[in-house]
Every structure is written in C-alpha cells, then in structure tokens.
Amino acid sequence: MTPIQVVFLFTAALILWAAFMMVTRQNLVHAALYLIVALFGVAVIFVLLEAGFLAVIQVLVYIGAIAILMIFAVMLTRGDVSHESESVNRGFGWAALLAALFCFGLIILLGQSPAINTPAPALAVDRDTVFELGRALVSPDAYVIPFEVASVLLLAALIGALVVARPHIKEKSKQR
C-alpha cells in the first residue's frame, strides 16, 4: 500500500461518490457542483497517469467551460417546475439495472483481457510528452486530419449553438 495507491483510492472514491451524488441529487446546481468534483478527480487521475497536459486541459475545458456552462444553463432554465418535481423518469429502475449490468459486465470483460496485468513502463525522465503530443496532433503521419476535423466540428458547433439558441427574427423585430 504505497502512498500513491492511497492517493488513487482516495481519488477514485471521491469520483465515484461525486458521480453518485450527481445522478441522485434533485437540485441541479448541486448536481453540477458534484459533477465538477468528479471531473476534478478525473484530472487528478490524469496526473497520476503522468498525463499532466491532459489534466490541465481537463480542468480548463471541463471545469472552466463545460461545468460552468451547465450551471449557467441550469440557472437560465430555473422557471422549470421539473426541478422541484420527481427528478427521475418512470423507467429509472430499468436504467439502474442496466447500468449495474454494464458495470459488472465491463469489469469482467476487462478483467479477462491478457493485458490487464502489464505493469506501467517507466517513462523516460527527460521525455517531454507535451511536445510529443503536440507533434502527434499536427504531424501528417499521425493525427493532423482528425485534428483539423475536430476544429471544423468545433466551429460547426459554435455556429450551430448560436443559431439554435438565438431568439427568432420575429421576436427580434418585435423587440425593436
């Protein structure tokens, strides 16, 4: 039981607890905050996996942008009665069952895989994974195409979001 393992177990517990709270809380803002906790825990996991860059990005993107937007949306849609009313739909029992099945199924399945016991090779001390990742993302023999596609996707999402969320022209003209 090395301290690092302690750290991991603690973080994992935190994450799962936060996730559980998130899906069970009725108050959406609380749920969002728990989500943030979970995401932060994931960032820590990334650190443990020596993917510092991803950890920082995790915080930046998920906590800094996504979660905040979530809370924002929650607050914008506050007038909705369904906050106070029952927070889960009729089929939640099925959902729970299915989720549990998935959990065990996945664990068993993964446990069967031969690679499960391979120890982590030590990363070279002077290795700059950030540099390598950057190279991989823009080098033509690696991921430049997906990278560009992702950028296009983001642009499309940006425009789409604007178009969808914008009040209609009629309403605008009414405001005038």
Binding site: N89, L101, G105
Partner: protein, 718 residues
C-alpha cells in the same frame, strides 16, 4: 534598359490611358485629356529614345533591336511574339510618335476644352455652341473623355503595329485600328451620315482584311512562321516561295500571298476599288481624320506593304521586269493616284479634298513600291505623313475658325464648304502660313519642301527604271495635286470672304496652332534627309542619309536611281505649273466654281466621284439586301428551317403521348404507387414504436449494446 525592352513599353501607355479614362476618369475632362496626352507623350519619349538608339547602331538592318517571348503554345511549337526595330520601323516610329503626340495635343483645343457646356448639346452630336451671356461661343464636346479614350486605343493599335516583329501582332494592331476607326468615324453616332460612314468604313476595310488574313494563313502554312526576319531575311525561303507555283492564275506562292496581303492594304489604305470609305470617314471629328488618314491607319497599310516588300517582290531582280503582283500594285497605285486626284479637283468640302489627295498620295507610294522604288516609297510615306497631318489639322483649324464665325453671326452655312470661305489669311495667319507650307509640301514645291524630294525621288525611280506609263500617270497626278492644292489654298485663304461667317472667323487657340507649327517644321525639314547625293548644286550639302539608312532594311540594298534631269524638270514644271494654274483659275472665284462651266458634264462626273458609291450601291448593297430579305429570310428561314422545326416538334409531341399512355402510366406509376402503399402500411404498423421519448430510445440502444457485450461475456464465462 536595352532599346528592345524599351520598345516593348512603347505601345503600353496609350492602352493604360484607354482603360484609365474609360474606367475611372470618365467624368473629369481635364484629368482625362491629361492622362491621354501624358500617355502619348510617354510613348513619344520612349519612341524617341529607341529611335536615336537605333541611329547610333551601325548596320541596324543586320542587327536590329529584337526581343520576343513565347506566347501561344501550338502543340509542338510555341508561337513567339516580339518587337523588332529595324530602320524602316525606326523611321515609322519616328513620324508616328510625332504626329500622334501632335494630334493628341490638337484634340484638346479642337474639342473646345474649357468652354462652357452647350445647352442643346447631346452626346452623339457635334457641340452646337453655348450661350455665354449674350453672344454664343463654342461649347465643349459632350463626350470629351470618350474621345480621348478612343484615340488612345487607336494610338495603341498603331504603335503595336509598328513595333511588332511578326505579321500576327501586326494584324492585331491593324484590326484594333479598324475597330477604333469605326468607333471614331461614328463618334457623333446621332448623325445618320456618321453612322453610315462608320459602317461603310468598317465593312469596306473588312473586305480587305479578310483577304489579308487569308494571306497570313497562307504564309504561315507555307513557311511555318510569321516572323518578319525569319521570312524576309532568309533568301532560301524567299526563293522557295518565289519558285514554287501556287496553282492559282499561274502565280507563285510568294506572288499569291503578296497579292492577298496587298488586297488588305488596298482596303486599309483606300486604294482604287475599296477607296470609297475614306472620303465618308470625314464625318468624324477632324483630329480623327488626321489620325486615320495621315498618321496611322492608311500609313499602316502602306507600312505593311513596304514591310513585306521582299516577299511581294520575291523573284524580282532590280532592273529586271516586274512580277505579276508588282505589276498589279503599280497599276492600281498609279491609277488610284490619278483617279483620286481628278476627283479632288471638283470637291467643295475642304476635308474631302484632302481625303482624296490622301488617296492619291497613297497611290503614289503603292505605285512606287510596284516599280520597286522601295526607299522612295518609305520616304514619301514619312514626308506625306507629316504634311498631310499638318494639312488636316490645318483644315480642322480653319473649320473651327469658320464655325466660330458661324456661331458669331448665326447664319446657317456649311463651315466646311470652301466656297463659303476666303480671305481667311488675315483672320487666321498662323493657320494660313502653316497650311501654305503643308500645301506646298503636298504639291511638291521645289527644293525646300519635303514633298518635293520624296515625290521627285519616286518620279526619278519610275523614269530611271523605265516604267514610262507609271511615270506619266504620276506626273499628271502630280500636276493635278498641285492644282487642287492651290485651288484649296486660294479658295480658303486668299481673295475676299464669301460669307459673313468667314469675315468673323478668328484664329484658333494655341493648343491647336502649336501642333500646326511643329508639324510644319517637319513638313519642310523631313525632306532634307533624303536629298540624293547626285543632285546638282545642293546634292552634296546633306548626305542622303535616309536612303542609306532605310535601304539597310533590305538584304541587298537598292542603289539610288541614277540622276536624270528630265524627271526633275517634269516634277518642277508640274508642281509650279499646277500651283500657278490653280492660283490663276481661282484668284477671283465667286460662289460658283469656274471649272464647272469649263468642264461641264465632266465636272459633275468628278463632283460625284465617278458615281462609284452609287455603283457599289447598285452592285453590292441592294442585291445583298434583296437576297437577305426575299430569299434568306422569307424562304430559307421561314419556310425551310421553321417548317422543319415545327414538324420535329409535332413528331416529338405525339411520340411523348404514346410513351405516356402506353408505358409511363401503367408500368412506372403502377410500380411507384405499389411501393408507396407498401411503405405506408409498414409505417402505419411501425409507428407505434415512436414514443418521442429520447430516453426510451436510449434505453433500447443500451439494451442492444449490452446484448453485444453479453455475447462476449457469455463466451468468456462459458
């Protein structure tokens, strides 16, 4: 920068000016003419640089300035275009640059720059003059900027033609000028006469151009190149062309091609059968007349012939008898010279007289070439360009002055009719003296004027090589030339005014008179470079520079004709005699032309230009119209083509009906409907699944996924 590269640049400024004016400065007159004149001046500067660089070169004929680029990929080879400055091009460039610049400057004044806008003026009509507190003054041309745009394009065409080193680009410039002459003659497009004249000029020259294009094609087919030097400085090629027979009229290939090209010139330089457009072209503004008739277009025709002389004369040895082509040229040239001169005698319109004199002078050059007097032709081309430009601009100035008088007095007379003028000598002294110089140059006033030397050289050549017929015709023509020139001068400037307008005529602005002065200088001085060495007394004073220089263009230099006293005497006598005669006859001319009574019917014949226009109208125009109307339209189009189409339509229609009823409705639609109904019923059955609950769908998805997962799990657990 090397002269060759400079040469590339010469044509560009006018083109730029054209676009600039048309696109940007159209609204602003001052800016427009600044651009245009600036461009002309730039081209002039470049031209002079190149010219004097050319003077500096020994044996320019052997090493001309050339530069070319590959332009048009032709499958296997690339068609190169480029520039070529050999002695001929150099001298042409010289006078073109000068006259163009002068004409540009002149145009400013001629189009009444700086005058108020006329109330009644509309685009497409000459300015009628404006009321400027009380008395009326000339008004500015409504389409001022457009005019400069057009002449700029015109200049571009001419420069291109002069500097180009192959027939194709030469032809391009040639056609550009054709277009511009159309645009400019029809500049006042609201005048029916102008419209007609424009169309006439375009069509007539087109006839020639088609033949010329044929000639070019034939040449390219025969030699595989259009480059001047590759063809003309290449004895093998020339001999081959000269010896092989074309199979038409027993002409050699060279002869045939030469003939075709020459027909192009006949059109462009208004030689006898196709000369009819030129007088009508006087409908255009006067600077245009000068451009077309003096500096550029007609000269272009002659320039082309001179340029192609070695080809035309292929198979002709100096002193030997002429080839068929040359004979044709000589005949047509000489005939035109006389013919046009006779018409010119009986014209009233000051500009028309000049127009016909132009035709006859061009005839001179053609004839000179026909008899192989290469240098003489070139020489006359240059001198004629100068003094004819001078004359046209002068006449324009006169007309302007008289118009001023017309505006002043308000009497309605034709300001171009010489019989309304007279006594302008006092009113417009500068115009008078310059016009006088020009006139004397034209009529070949001995010893001082340029015209004398060039004309004399032609006559001398004609005589020296024993072409007596040509010699005599030209001599008579020269006599007539001198006569009508003096007639013109006398009627216009001397004697007493025949109309109040003439009394109140006034000298024109310096922007118009300055070019006159400059050109008059050249009209005199241009001749001195060509005085034959073997001329008595003054022969040695100035070396016959022109002859040596230009003859360098050819492979074997023609030697100057041996001096002979007879042609000299002849030309002296005809010039002086003509002038004197003209003065005597018209000294006291009134409203009526004294010749009319003297000649009687012949005069009317001459006055109506031998009824050639009417003749053409009968022969070509009306039959063409008749055929177009009666046969092509009524029969071919209406009956044959339309009938065929209608029949086709009917057939297609019925066929379509058959398809529709027999195939489309039962088979295709039946199948389509069947599919549709099937789909519908399926849909009706399946739609129950669509609850619209996203999460329900998700649940299904998850279940199925788990199914897949379970498959593996089963595999593992078992």
């Amino acid at each position: 920068m090397s002269p060759a590269l400079l040469t590339w640049l010469i044509p560009l400024p006018p083109l730029l000016a054209f676009f600039l004016i048309l696109l940007f400065t159209r609204r602003n007159n001052a800016l427009s003419h600044t651009v245009a004149v600036g461009a002309a001046a730039l081209s002039w500067l470049l031209g002079m640089l190149v010219f004097f660089a050319a003077l500096g070169v020994e044996h320019l004929g052997e090493q001309p300035f050339t530069s070319s680029v590959g332009w048009l990929p032709l499958g296997s080879s690339v068609f190169p275009i480029g520039v070529l400055i050999d002695p001929l091009a150099a001298v042409t460039l010289f006078f073109v640059a000068w006259t163009v610049l002068m004409i540009f400057i002149y145009s400013i004044g001629y189009n009444n720059f700086g005058q108020p806008k006329g109330e009644g003026d509309v685009p497409g009509l000459p300015p009628h003059g404006a009321k400027d507190h009380g008395h009326s003054v000339p008004s500015v041309e409504p389409m001022y900027a457009r005019f400069f745009a057009f002449i700029s394009l015109f200049a571009f065409g001419m420069f291109t033609l002069v500097v180009s080193d192959n027939l194709l680009t030469l032809f391009v410039g040639w056609e550009i000028m054709g277009l511009c002459s159309y645009l400019l003659i029809g500049f006042w497009y609201a005048k029916p006469s102008a419209r007609a004249a424009a169309v006439k000029a375009f069509m007539t020259t087109r006839v020639g151009d088609v033949f010329m294009l044929l000639g070019i094609v034939a040449l390219y087919a025969a030699t595989g190149t259009l480059n001047f030097r590759e063809i003309l400085h290449n004895p093998q090629v020339l001999d081959a062309l000269a010896t092989t027979s074309s199979g038409y009229f027993g002409l050699s290939v060279a002869g045939l091609i030469g003939l075709l090209l020459f027909i192009g010139t006949v059109g462009k330089s208004a030689q006898f059968p196709l000369h009819v457009w030129l007088p009508d072209a006087m409908e255009g503004p006067t600077p245009v007349s000068a451009m077309i008739h003096a500096a550029t277009m007609v000269s272009a025709g002659v320039y082309m012939v001179i340029r192609m002389f070695p080809l035309l004369s292929a198979g002709w040895v100096e002193g030997g008898d002429l080839t068929a082509t040359m004979t044709v040229m000589a005949a047509i040239g000489a005939f035109t010279a006389l013919f046009a001169a006779t018409i010119a005698v009986a014209q009233k319109d000051i500009k028309r007289v000049l127009a016909y004199s132009t035709i006859s002078q061009l005839g001179y050059m053609i004839a000179a070439l026909g008899i192989g007097a290469y240098v003489a032709a070139a020489f006359h081309l240059v001198t004629h360009a100068f003094f004819k430009a001078l004359l046209f601009l002068g006449s324009g100035s006169v007309i302007h002055g008289v118009e001023h008088g017309v505006l002043h007095t308000g009497e309605h007379i034709d300001p171009q009719d010489m019989f309304n003028m007279g006594g302008l000598k006092k009113k417009m002294p500068i115009t008078f003296w310059t016009f006088l110089i020009g006139g004397f140059a034209l009529s070949g006033f001995p010893l001082i004027t340029a015209g004398f030397w060039s004309k004399d050289e032609i006559l001398a050549d004609a005589f020296g090589h024993g072409h007596l017929a040509v010699f005599l015709t030209l001599a008579i023509a020269a006599l007539l030339t001198a006569f009508y020139t003096m007639r013109q001068i006398t009627l216009t400037f001397l004697g007493a005014p025949r109309s109040k307008a003439a009394e109140h005529a006034s000298e024109t602005k310096p922007s118009m008179t300055l070019p006159l002065v400059v050109l008059s200088v050249f009209a005199v001085a241009a001749g001195w470079v060509g005085i034959p060495e073997n001329f008595p007394v003054i022969g040695g004073l100035l070396p016959s520079w022109f002859h040596n220089f230009v003859s360098g263009t050819l492979l074997e230099h023609p030697e100057a004709a041996a001096f002979n006293i007879l042609p000299l005497l002849v030309s002296l006598s005809v010039a002086l005699g003509g002038l004197g005669l003209g003065y005597l006859v018209y000294r006291r001319a009134g409203e009526q032309d004294p010749l009319r009574s003297a000649l009687g019917p012949i005069y009317t014949l001459l006055e109506n230009k031998y009824y050639i226009d009417e003749l053409y109208d009968r022969i070509f125009v009306r039959p063409a119209k008749a055929i177009a109307e009666g046969f092509v339209y009524m029969f071919i189009d209406r009956q044959v083509i339309d009938g065929f189409l209608h029949a086709l339509a009917r057939a297609a229609f019925s066929l379509g009906g058959i398809f529709r009823n027999k195939f489309d409705a039962p088979v295709v639609n039946g199948f389509g409907d069947f599919t549709a109904s099937m789909t519908q019923s399926f849909g009706r059955a399946l739609r129950k699944v669509q609850t619209g609950q996203v999460q329900q769908y998700l649940l299904f998805v998850a279940l199925i996924t788990f199914g897949g997962l379970f498959y593996y799990l089963f595999g593992i657990l078992r």
